[in-house]
């Protein structure tokens, strides 16, 4: 198989300007059909054959573009996170609440519920897949953390970082706490991350960050 696929993989490096181009409409139809199939069947019962039928393309077309089910679903779900953005609500607390609510809304969709954890589980034994998830899903979320953090520091709501290494570690910690809590609440506890919960969570996080930072460099 030729690994010159689209959607994340460097499609047709540069010398392949000739020949019939791949249908962009087919791409959109396939990803849309994948999400529909995820809602109808869930991750485990989803087959590429059914996705192909649903999208109105041949099964072989799917295999020409994606290496397998994992990669296809990652791309299909990644589009759901395109709408994530950092609103400016005036305060750090309000910004956090806004982002968390957006994230919770995406996670509440059935296609995201069933697919996200499944591909993460697969990625534990598939390093390229984890890299794909990271670049197309995780990093996009993580950027919101660093941006919101920088904005809060500009506002004076958070103290500036001493050294960049510490800043990176703190950003990673915040990200794991926020994303992990919302995911766990939604998928494991199976209860809604509604406004009340998000408010409580934000208060704990915010107090923990400002207070802990005020504690100094640490023990």
């Amino acid at each position: 198989m030729r690994p010159d696929m689209v959607n994340g993989m460097q499609c047709r490096s540069q010398a392949a300007r000739t020949g019939r181009p791949r249908s962009a409409a087919a791409d959109a139809a396939i990803l849309e059909a994948t999400r529909t199939a995820l809602v109808e069947l869930g991750w485990s019962k989803l087959t590429l054959g059914y996705v192909a039928t649903l999208a109105g393309v041949a099964k072989t077309t799917l295999y020409r573009r994606w290496a397998g089910k994992n990669e296809l679903v990652v791309d299909a779900v990644a589009e759901l996170f395109d709408e994530l953005e950092l609103p400016d609500r005036g305060s750090l607390a309000a910004d956090i609440e806004g982002v968390v609510l957006q994230f919770a809304a995406i996670l509440d969709r059935p296609e995201a519920k069933t697919a996200l954890m499944a591909v993460v589980a697969e990625s534990t034994r598939d390093e390229p897949l984890r890299e794909r998830i990271r670049t197309s899903i995780v990093d996009r979320q993580k950027r919101l953390v660093t941006e919101g953090r920088a904005r809060a520091q500009a506002r004076g709501e958070l103290p500036p970082e001493a050294d960049p290494g510490s800043a990176d570690r703190t950003a990673a910690l915040i990200f794991d706490v926020v994303a992990g809590a919302v995911v766990h609440r939604t998928l494991v506890s199976a209860e809604p991350a509604d406004e009340e919960w998000v408010r409580s969570f934000t208060r704990v996080l915010l107090v923990g960050l400002t207070g802990a930072a005020a504690d100094g460099a640490g023990p």
Copy 2:
């Protein structure tokens, strides 16, 4: 554990003391073989036929005891969480760090990595499976939160709760934050939840809890 309802199938309700009993050794061998197979193959490539061969039993025996792959793996992984307990290290911070490190150690095993998220993903479309995960895995962790919280309140490190409803919500929040953060750190960020990380996380959480509680009811 009850000897006949281990797998959740209503095999012998109560008045079935006659006939050949099920081999307890086979149960242990099957669950052990399941974990071995998870390490060797991962969740997606694990087949019940291979587990049966590994355990030295017939494939039909597996289907007689478990409804399918999901239930089997849940039981196999649930045993990993038996070692979880709440150490008394003298302070709330040290207690939290101890429990989180235990949890992280379990999550660091390859069989837990690949299986936990997979069954959670499946449970989003399978309510009985979610209930099984809840009772055999999640609730066991959650109990540690309530116990540690009660102990900290007895020590005076945390203020007592106003009403029990608020206490339940707070415990649920803490649980989602702790478990979610560790899981996300380990599986999504794919970085170790080592002592340094756990210390930073505990400081944020602890300051967030005590400070937020000191804030009063809040807006």
